[in-house]
Symmetry: C2
């Protein structure tokens, strides 16, 4: 007679975004997957613009087609106290979440201030943010003390899309371990796809930057991928699209192309 | 008959800060070493405070004893358009430079905006800033295009003082290589001491955080060192002192303790 083996968790590729939402306790990640299921979109638009009117126009024009808006509020030259209330109102109207792509990268004591204080008060409005793990586990602990009581979620940068980046091998393995040690707050990864070391754990969300249907790179080392390769082949969950959408002649039409390509790749994966 | 060997550059420990200033073409780094020689101080104070009055008080009260003020302008809740002109005036009065500890950590296209734009316009006032190399060489290229024409300098985070950090081994080696490939703009390192792989190259400046005469760490993974161990034993150039000074009962007296300890360690190294 052998002891019963513990039941294995269901594999991620066999579960829908909606099914996975039910397995996740973190409110930000669970809500994100619900929105993806409901709106049928896995597109996150990266709004890398330098003025508030441009940012709000992207949010308003593309909001109906996205699950998440990735911001860099620290490049907005005209940021003021009205910016976040306006952005939040648009996010609520179109039912998408906000992801300040801050890439925190300092020791725990400093990132707590950067997350909570300053002129941006990121933790007060950004449902999801992200961090590098090069400073060690103290960065996650510091951010968690601020963000977890607010129901926020953190993505760990496990891999990057830029040429010659160092988020590889042992660095990626240690990033995964730090995430596993903080599953209440770390909701997933910035990575090039699903991380095989996590054995298809359905409770982590993967987001992949550098997605572009037309271009293959820029002059400063960025390297691009397609929605099909990211969602179907590499089994990521969210495609992050920046210049490919907002510099297009018709951004509203262009975001729908990415939405359709990303959703088709997801349905192909589910039925595979 | 043997071919003449190329002359070896003079070793760093045998040269004074002032001698090394003459070997460096980058204006920010050269001026920093001149100030250190002239004021007889290798102390950088880290002003990790969250209000502008606190920051300006530290700059005014401690300015005469430091070569560099390390700032986190993004944790100042009351930052406004007057903050930088006021800070710059104090820096000029007391003859120290400014180092915004931004720890840039994104792809080249994004860090250019973060360095030049936003509400902080860091490149317009911060003589020295720093970056992680995890995104690959594009981050240095992006920052250099903005900072070099302004005479700014960049420090690369080659090592960190926090517990369990990943800036070790091959990561550190690659950071050093990226610095060597960009010597016009990369003026040195954040590290725990001189980096042996650079064979005592006198044209790189080393700055070491986590220096404290009284405490050995904090609750979020920070680990502390003494001025003697950092400057004499590990041959760093600048000690970065934060909470050890500005939370002391008498910060003005306390900064002089660090200044004397740091300078004594430097003179001991020179005469060794």
């Amino acid at each position: 007679a052998s002891a019963a083996k513990p039941a294995e968790p269901p594999k991620q590729p066999n579960l829908s975004y909606g099914d996975r939402a039910k397995l996740i306790s973190n409110p930000a990640a669970s809500r994100l997957l619900e929105i993806m299921e409901q709106k049928k979109t896995n597109v996150c638009v990266a709004a890398d613009v330098t003025t508030v009117p441009e940012l709000l126009k992207i949010a308003e024009d593309l909001g109906a087609d996205i699950c998440l808006l990735k911001t860099h509020v620290d490049i907005l030259t005209d940021f003021d106290a009205e910016t976040i209330p306006k952005l939040t109102a648009i996010a609520e109207k179109h039912n998408f979440l906000l992801f300040e792509d801050r890439k925190f990268a300092d020791i725990g004591n400093t990132v707590q201030h950067q997350y909570r204080d300053g002129v941006y008060h990121i933790s007060s409005w950004s449902h999801i943010t992200n961090a590098h793990v090069v400073p060690g586990p103290g960065i996650i602990q510091g951010l968690k003390e601020v963000g977890l009581p607010l129901g926020r979620g953190l993505l760990i940068l496990a891999e990057m899309s830029s040429k010659g980046n160092l988020a590889t091998g042992d660095y990626t393995s240690k990033a995964i371990q730090m995430a596993k040690d903080n599953k209440d707050f770390v909701v997933g990864f910035i990575s090039m796809g699903q991380l095989s070391a996590l054995a298809q754990d359905p409770t982590f969300v993967y987001m992949t930057p550098g997605v572009n249907l037309s271009s293959t790179g820029d002059a400063l080392g960025q390297q691009y991928n397609t929605p099909e390769s990211v969602i179907f082949e590499r089994k990521s969950d969210v495609i992050i699209v920046g210049r490919g959408v907002y510099t297009a002649a018709d951004p509203k039409a262009e975001v729908k192309r990415y939405r359709e390509a990303g959703w088709a790749a997801y349905e192909k994966r589910l039925s595979n």
